[in-house]
Symmetry: C2
Subunit: 346 residues, 2 copies
Amino acid sequence: MSEDFNTHPHKRFNILTGEWILVSPHRTKRPWQGRLEKVAEEKRPSYDADCFLCPGNKRASGDTNPNYTNPYTFRNDFSALLPEGPKEEFEDGLLKASAETGICRVVCFSPDHSLTLPVMNTSDIVKVIRKWKEEYASLGSREDINHVMIFENKGDMMGCSNPHPHGQIWAQLSVPVEVQKKTEHQKKYWERNKRSLLGDYLEQELKSEERIVLKNEHFVALVPYWAIWPYETMIIPRRQMQHIGQLSSEEENAYAGILKQLTIKYDNLFQTSFPYSSGIHQQPTNGQDFPEWHFHMSFYPPLLRSKTVKKFMVGYEMFAGPQRDITAEQAAATLRELPAQHYTQE
Amino acid sequence: MSEDFNTHPHKRFNILTGEWILVSPHRTKRPWQGRLEKVAEEKRPSYDADCFLCPGNKRASGDTNPNYTNPYTFRNDFSALLPEGPKEEFEDGLLKASAETGICRVVCFSPDHSLTLPVMNTSDIVKVIRKWKEEYASLGSREDINHVMIFENKGDMMGCSNPHPHGQIWAQLSVPVEVQKKTEHQKKYWERNKRSLLGDYLEQELKSEERIVLKNEHFVALVPYWAIWPYETMIIPRRQMQHIGQLSSEEENAYAGILKQLTIKYDNLFQTSFPYSSGIHQQPTNGQDFPEWHFHMSFYPPLLRSKTVKKFMVGYEMFAGPQRDITAEQAAATLRELPAQHYTQE
Ligand SMILES: O=P(O)(O)O[C@H]1O[C@H](CO)[C@@H](O)[C@H](O)[C@H]1O
Ligand SMILES: O=P(O)(O)O[C@H]1O[C@H](CO)[C@@H](O)[C@H](O)[C@H]1O
């Protein structure tokens, strides 16, 4: 990287979406007099009688959860997408709409209400990954599902309304815009080079090491050059795979391992259960071939300075484009140097 | 609109950005057990000795504000963009960056610390609009400024760190991505029809009235068909103007009037000083002609259900695409029916 850019405003190009982001490395010097987030730090019990997601409990819908002991999935009681519905397209002058159908599911990571990924056993995280694979395969094989979005909102700061360890899956008829952008840019590169864009990017990052946070035999976690969120990271498999269904059991273990290690780093950063949204980007499930796709998982965490001060993506960011206050290199160095042991288990 | 779409999930097309958004009208039925925002409701004094923006006070930089009586602008003490800096482009394999320069300014709307737009006099809002015009003209005329972004972050929920009524201007060398998208789509329409895309859209909306919130002789406020935020609105001038510099003094008055009326509606919605980010999208200032541009001001407010429950743009929204829980028509009807008098001044 040009040395000047360590200290001067510049913009960086996201090779996956084709968009630029503004970086203002000098800007964390400003004092913060704005909002402080409230943080709920209570130690949670392993079972909470009022929790909709704990085994054996009644949900909002009236259904009762089984006494599950492994990751458990069910149809979201308040699904944003529904499998049945009108099929029509609508156009009237400059108004254009189209029916959308889909299925929303909830994935409980563990029966234990008190856990989060960083404090789960690696072998239990493997079970979560296998559940994701199962869901991706069964939802993706449906005629009416062309994309399966697996994600987690962690922490109430990220709109998560229940602290029980869980994620969501929204599977739908059309391919969402973020995935379309990533398909387009990977495809262009594939057609020109017959190589994985993300694979080549990973190779370059592994040479420089500047933005690498963690690595094992099968996966690398890094702060992408074009990161938007202060401590945004990406987990990339070394081997090009279009989707998680292609993971070998050895790779599942390595994935679980790096997931645990990365989320430990996150919790250790501000000594708090670190809020984030994470999501797995992979190939659409519309039956076409996507030789260009290289699946990856991204983490978008809002915190910037401490467990109570987040980065606000507001005004300029909403109307002009993304802007960040620390460089990807600074963020990666900070994460890299954090202990590998969870701060509550020292 | 197809009747089915009042109750069923569907997606809508944004004619200005070319992007789809997912609408789930049935979804507000779900109970909310998530985060409640804290709300600061204290009545503020007209002058606060600790405020960086009040007349006569010392700022963080050490500079002292004059005893201003009209809207007052100054260079942001913690600017994200700086006018001087490296000019280089950087490319190394798949890493691509480019220097960015610019100027960040702060616009104090009033010397009175206690005010906000909805409780200011229309004639004082006119002064703010004139200040915006001045800044747009002087920044925009610079060789090194090709885009001028005028915006306001209101409320600490929107990352605003000081309640003194103020907005910001970030002016820069390159044209930001959101403005590029809007240029592209307006241009395509202009080339095909030699008419303003937004002008034609406005005409259609005025016929149906479904999404209109307010109108006067020169401006209309509506909830766009493709709105993302629950109570998102857009103020559109009836006459096609590329930028605010073209406003006649009569139009300035009408603009100020609708700004006041709209922000009163917002405050009345949940009987709170309503948080939002607002921004004025207008033509770039790179010296080229933009016959397609039709300037407009958008409001992106986060609140969904009450003054303490906001819409979280997280997980699915970050990784897939925007999603909303009430329809634009519902939001417009709610806003339309609210009283025209501010709730604190009844
Ligand atoms: O410059 P301010 O008001 O301190 O900062 C606020 O607005 C900026 C521009 O939208 C954002 O980048 C910041 O995240 C936000 O906190
Ligand atoms: O479905 P939940 O967890 O209640 O809701 C959360 O995640 C959804 C998907 O990212 C968002 O649309 C909601 O705004 C958020 O509160």
